[in-house]
Structures are given as C-alpha cells and as structure tokens.
Amino acid sequence: MPPALRAQGITKRFDAVVALSDGALTVERGEIHALLGANGCGKSTLCKIIAGTVLRDGGSVQVDGVPLEPKRPADAEAAGIALFYQELSLVPQLTVAENIFLGHEPRTRAGFVDRRKLEDDAGRLLGPFQAVAGSGLDLHTPVARLAPDQRQIVEILKVLARRPRLIIFDEATAALDRRQVEFFFRMLRELKAQGIAMIFISHRLDEVFEICDRITVMRNGATVATYPAAETDVNRVVHAMVGAMAEHLHPPQVERPANEQPRLVVDRARGRRLRDVSLTLRPGEILGLGGLQGQGQSALLRGLFGADPLDSGRVNLDGAPLRLRKPADAVRHGIAYVSGDRGRDAALHGRSIFENIAAASFIRERRVLVWPGRLAERFRQAAAALNTKYAGLEAPIGSLSGGNQQKIFIARWLATRPAVLLLDDPTKGIDLAAKADFFDLVQRLAAEGASILFYSSEDAELLGLCNRILVFNGGAIAAELSGGTMTALHLTRAAYGDAA
C-alpha cells in the first residue's frame, strides 16, 4: 500500500531567498508524524506546498500513490488534505457552527441550509471539547467573542468537519491548556485508529514525544532525518535540529565603566502578548531576544516604540521615565524601530530612496521646511554606512533588491542618530552579503555607544551578535543566556520549554 503522503525533493524560492532546497516527508496511513526544525527551517513552507496554498518550484508530491499538483487550496482539499490554519481561516462575524461548516453546509432537499443538521453535527463535533472549552463556547456565539483557545478549538473542528484523510496540524495546540491538549490528543488517537494520516508541528517537544509515531527533522530548507519516536530522545532530536552549527564568535566586548547608568530600563511591561517583562539595557550593549516566533518579542519591541502601546509597566530612558503612547514619542527620544516585514511596515512603495530615508528625520527634528539638497549628503552617508548599492537618491525604492531596500530603511534610522535601536527580526528574507553588512553596522553602532535590542528568528544570528540573550516563551522571559550558556543547544532547549 502506498503511503498516505510522499513528498520528495521539494524546492521553493521566494525571490532571492531559498526557503526549501530539499524538502521530503513520508507519512503512512494511521500515523501521527511530527515535523520539527528551528525557526526558518522550511517546515511551514513544506506544509503550505502540500496544502496547495503555496506553489512549489520543483519536486513531487504523491497522495496515496497519486501525484498531486494543487493550484489552489481547493485542489488539495479535494485530495482529502486539510491544513489547520492558526485561526486565520475563521470569519469573526459568523457563529461557531457556521464557521465549522463554512462552505460545506448540510442542505435540505430544497437547497436551504439544514440548520438542525448543521447544529446537530457541529454539536457532536464540539461535544467532547465542551467540558474543557470554558464558558461561552456555544454553537451560536460569533467567533469574534471567543477566547484564543476557543478559536483554536473551532479551527480544529472546522478541519475535522471536512472529513480529511490527511491533516496538517501546524501549532494546533499553541493556545490550548493542558486539559484541552489531552482532549485533543484523545481525538487524534481516534482519528489515527480510523487510518487518518496526520502531520503534527509543535514547539512543545513533550507533546511531540507523547503523541507522535515518527519524527522528521528539517534544517536550512532540507530534511535531515526521520526517527521512530520510540527509538530516539529529545537530545538527539534537538541536535539534529541545531546541526553542526558553527560555534559563534563572541563579539568583542567593549569595556564600559561599571557604574555607568543603564540606557533603558523596562519594569514589568504588560501588553496583549506580554507578561511582566523586565530588562535592563546598557549603552553599547546588544541584547538578544530569542525563543520561538510569536512569544512576545515583537510585542515588546513594538510596545517600546509606542506602536502597540504597553498596557502597564514602567520604561526609563537614561534615568528619566518615558511615556510611549505613539511612535513619535519614541522617535523624538532617539528610539528607532526596524521591522523585518519591510513591505508592510517600512517601504514607502513608489517613492524615491531620498523620501524613504527622510521620513523619520522629519519627526526626530520637528522639521517643517525641507531642502533636499541640504539633506542629501547626510542621507548618502547613512546609506554608505551599510555599503548600500543604489543608482541615486532619486531612484524609486522598488529599483533595489530586498537586501538593499532593508539597508535603506535602516539608513532611515541612522540619519536620526538613535540612542536605542529596536530590531524586530530585521534580516528576514535578505541575502547573506546584506546580512554581513548589517551585522558589521550593528557592532559598530554598539561600539559607538548605541544600545540595541535585537530579535531574530534565526538563532545563529542571536548567538553571533549578542552580548546576552533573553529567551521568550508565552509572553514572558523564560531564561537569560550569557557567557558559557550562549550556545545553540541552550537556546533551543530554552525556546522549547522545560521538556528539553
């Protein structure tokens, strides 16, 4: 009998960036198969290719021995594949029952929605969860009113309602508590008994070992190994994920007077995704924010920039309390924010390089009149600090490659001579040469006394650049690494929680 899924030699590029160089995965019927890997290893891209939301460049996918060439999600769905989206596919205004059966509503003979059957079926799916779902998860509640864990349950039920034969659960348990996870696992075992194949992605290794039959590990866009779960252990898996990563070079520590006043002190910052985060940042220090994606690192940086203001907590800059209600508050105090999501957060599409650099300087300097000729020299210097290649300041931003664009957005902040740099995964999707230029610059800025908070989804960057690393988990700081503990192993273990 052919396996439920066989994906081989999958490749995928996004512009200049290779997301997958050799993705492979084989899942048997009635198997729960874990897919693990460090951030950016390509596991999500591989799943999206299987589910038809991303088109592959090369390689082959077979479902039950039949080649699959999905052009859109509906094609994969027709082949019995369902992908669990992290609550992205729910419609907030519709009720729980409507969301679960959206697009597959049971109908009466007249073609009307069979409300009774819809609710009975939805109720039957929801039943097992009812005991652990908390109050308010009712078939008639609009999804907008649900808590995150309840939405996740609805998303799971929506997947199950399609009666798929291969299910991809991408971080399906992220928002669930322990009791909910147990119920979920009980359900997975039932599905397994029915011969349904499942791919399970989770950042909780204990869950992986609890529920999965086999484990496939990916690294740098390629599949490196597959183990039967019973014959391996956490250490081996983590080592496979980390690989023979080059031991990083500790950046030269700049000697600073011991009694120097800290630049930035954050005391019990709370927000939508932050739980009591406190930290101290010194002049000349590069402080890394590590952990899996979405654990509160970006929320902290955006909170400190005033973009998503903190709910509570104190922030002191050079000893003086700071109120950060909007970005202008931060910019005028010399705080800069570089986002990795260039297209959304930084690029002034269609505008010139000059305008793209100038944007923040106007606010920092409370400038009213603009004489481009007088500003140009300063902007050229800022761009030159990063070895940016561009035709001229008047060229449109779109004429540059992704890496050079990101350099321009960093130059935007260099031109404001910032005291604190908030880097929010700034190297996402840029080429290696640009990264190297960027790391040089960050070290130079630190040496000149700037304080830097650096979040990266690539562990190697954190290890190579930072003086200390704060590892985030669930909106709180789970561990602090410095000196001898700054290794890939420690970082991965801390990110994956206590299990490792």
């Binding site: 205004q93 519709l94 509503e105």
Partner: protein
C-alpha cells in the same frame, strides 16, 4: 434562522426598530388618519422603492463591497422597460416582456459591476461611481426626456388590489419572502464570510469572486424591482429617476445595522432602515417644516447613522 438571529443580536437594528415605532407614533399624532387603509397604502407606495433598493444594497455591503450605481440602474431599467413596452405595442404581453427586459437590464448592470470589481479587481467605490455615470448616460440615450407613458394595465394593476390587499403590499410581502428564502441558503453565510474575512473565505475554499458577483447581480435585480415599482407609480419613463436612491439605500443599510465593512447584518434590518428614512420624510412634512429642510434633516440623520454604525462596529474588533 438561529444563525441569523445571532448575527442580529445586540445590533443597532433594535434601535432602528425603536426609532421606527417612535416615528410612527409621532406621525400618528400629527396625522390622525395615518392608520386608515388609503393612507397606509399611499405610504407603502412611497416607501417601497427605497425598501427594495436597500435590500439589494445589503447583499453587496455584506460582502464588503458597495454599489453606488443603483440609482442609475433604476433610471436605466425604467427607460428600457417603458421603451420595450411601447415598441411591442402596449398590450398585456408587451408589459410582461417589458418587465422581463427591465429585470434582465438590472441583472446585467449588476453583472458588469461585479465583473469589474471581483474579477478585474477594480476598487468598488470608484468603479460603481463610474459605471453609474455610464448607466445614466445610457438611460439618456434610450429616452432623452421624461415622458412616454406606460399603458394603463401596468399602473392600474400596480395601484390596484389583489385578494382584497393592495398590490404594493403583495410586492412588499413577496420581497420579504425572497429575503427570507435567500437567508436560508448557504449563499448568505458565504456572502457574510467573504465580507467578514476575505482571506478566511479564500482559505476555506469559497469561490470569493463568484460570491461577490452574485451580490452585485442581486443588487441589480432588486434595483430593477424598485424601478418597476417607481414606474408603476409615475406611469411613465424618466431618465433621471432614482437619482438620490444610491445614497439613501446606503443610509438605510447602515441604519439597519449592516456593517459597512461587511460581514454582518441583514436585509430585514435594511427594510427597517428604509422605513425609518421614509417616516422621517413623513414627520417632517406633517410637522409643517418647510420642504427645504427635508434634504438637510435626512442628510444629517444619514451622517449620524453612519457615525453611529461605525462606532458600534468599531467596538467589536478582535
């Protein structure tokens, strides 16, 4: 029906219903004969076109789009209908063919809008603004000046009664039945899904473009119904008919509790909204306020409804 009642729960349509009751009460005080058959009938005749357009507009707005061309569609349907009837010879058969031609015209306009917006991905607001200009240009082409009466069977039937009830009431009830039938179809849920979260609907595998087009076609069809009613009332062709109905229909939709951003609301709410707008006109008239104030007051109420509607919807972001 539970799902729909859910979507309605706690929404501003309750306020609208309350406003309607108050307006009816005030109107009854100002106009003691309000509840007599003739007055009710004439009121319904005045309100009916807006009710119908507002129903159609709801299906577009639910999907997160907007149709500013409905006024022009009304004019175009009107002139096409009267021209077709006159050309075929003013018999009963001609009238029926004229009605059919009118409805097809409305649906064709909706299809055109839907194609441009959903398939060509034009921005809905400016697109339907532009197609509205084209439709009114076409209306002027078909019938340059007002005139060309429709034959007596048309307007007599419209003004007459059936089984003891006015024909306008039958039309009103039929429209409500249509709304109910539509709301029982999966289509309405899909429409709301497209308006509520376009990416969510896409990822779920719904045919987003087709659903949006269907919304526009429904808007065109209901605009055609409105136009045919107006034609029954005026008994002649008028290429400038229905000019203010685009804005009024959007006001009625918003008053009825449908979010302009799409995703939630119902056509029943829009019916209430349309009735409220109509009653405001009545009250202004019977309160002895000069006619000139009507546009001003209606405009102010519309803006207030928009602001209120957006504020209500704004509070439940997630």
């Amino acid at each position: 029906m539970t799902g729909m009642s859910m979507r309605l729960r706690g929404r501003s349509w309750l306020v609208t219903l309350l406003a309607l009751i108050v307006l009816v009460a005030v109107n009854a005080v100002l106009q003691p004969n309000l509840f007599t058959g003739t007055v009710l009938k004439s009121n319904l005749t005045v309100f009916l076109p807006l009710v119908l357009v507002a129903i159609g507009q709801t299906y577009v707005v639910l999907a997160g789009d907007i149709d500013l061309s409905v006024g022009a569609v009304i004019a175009l349907v009107n002139v096409v209908t009267v021209t077709v009837i006159a050309a075929i010879g003013n018999g009963v058969g001609a009238v029926l063919l004229g009605l059919l031609a009118g409805m097809l015209t409305g649906m064709a306009c909706g299809l055109f809008n839907g194609f441009l917006v959903a398939v060509m991905r034009f921005q809905p607001i400016v697109t339907t603004f532009a197609t509205g200009i084209i439709f009114s240009g076409l209306a002027l082409r078909v019938l340059p000046t007002a005139g060309l009466p429709v034959p007596a069977p048309y307007w007599r039937t419209y003004a007459g009664s059936l089984l003891g009830l006015p024909v306008t009431l039958w039309i009103f009830l039929t429209a409500l039945l249509l709304v109910a039938l539509l709301s029982w179809r999966p289509f309405l849920t899909h429409l709301a899904a497209v308006g509520g979260s376009r990416t969510g609907a896409f990822q779920t595998g719904l045919p987003v473009a087709r659903i949006r087009i269907q919304g526009y076609v429904l808007a065109g069809l209901f605009s055609a119904f409105a136009s045919l009613c107006l034609t029954g009332e005026t008994a002649s062709g008028d290429p400038l008919m229905g000019r203010m109905l685009a804005l009024s229909s959007i006001s009625a939709v918003v008053l009825g509790g449908t979010a302009l951003a799409g995703g939630s609301g119902s056509a029943f709410g829009s019916v209430l909204g349309a009735l409220v707008l109509g009653m405001i006109g009545n009250v202004i008239f019977f309160a002895g306020l000069p006619f000139e104030y009507q546009t001003l007051v209606q405009g102010l109420i519309t803006l207030a409804a928009l602001a209120g509607g957006v504020l209500v919807a704004g509070r439940q972001r997630w």
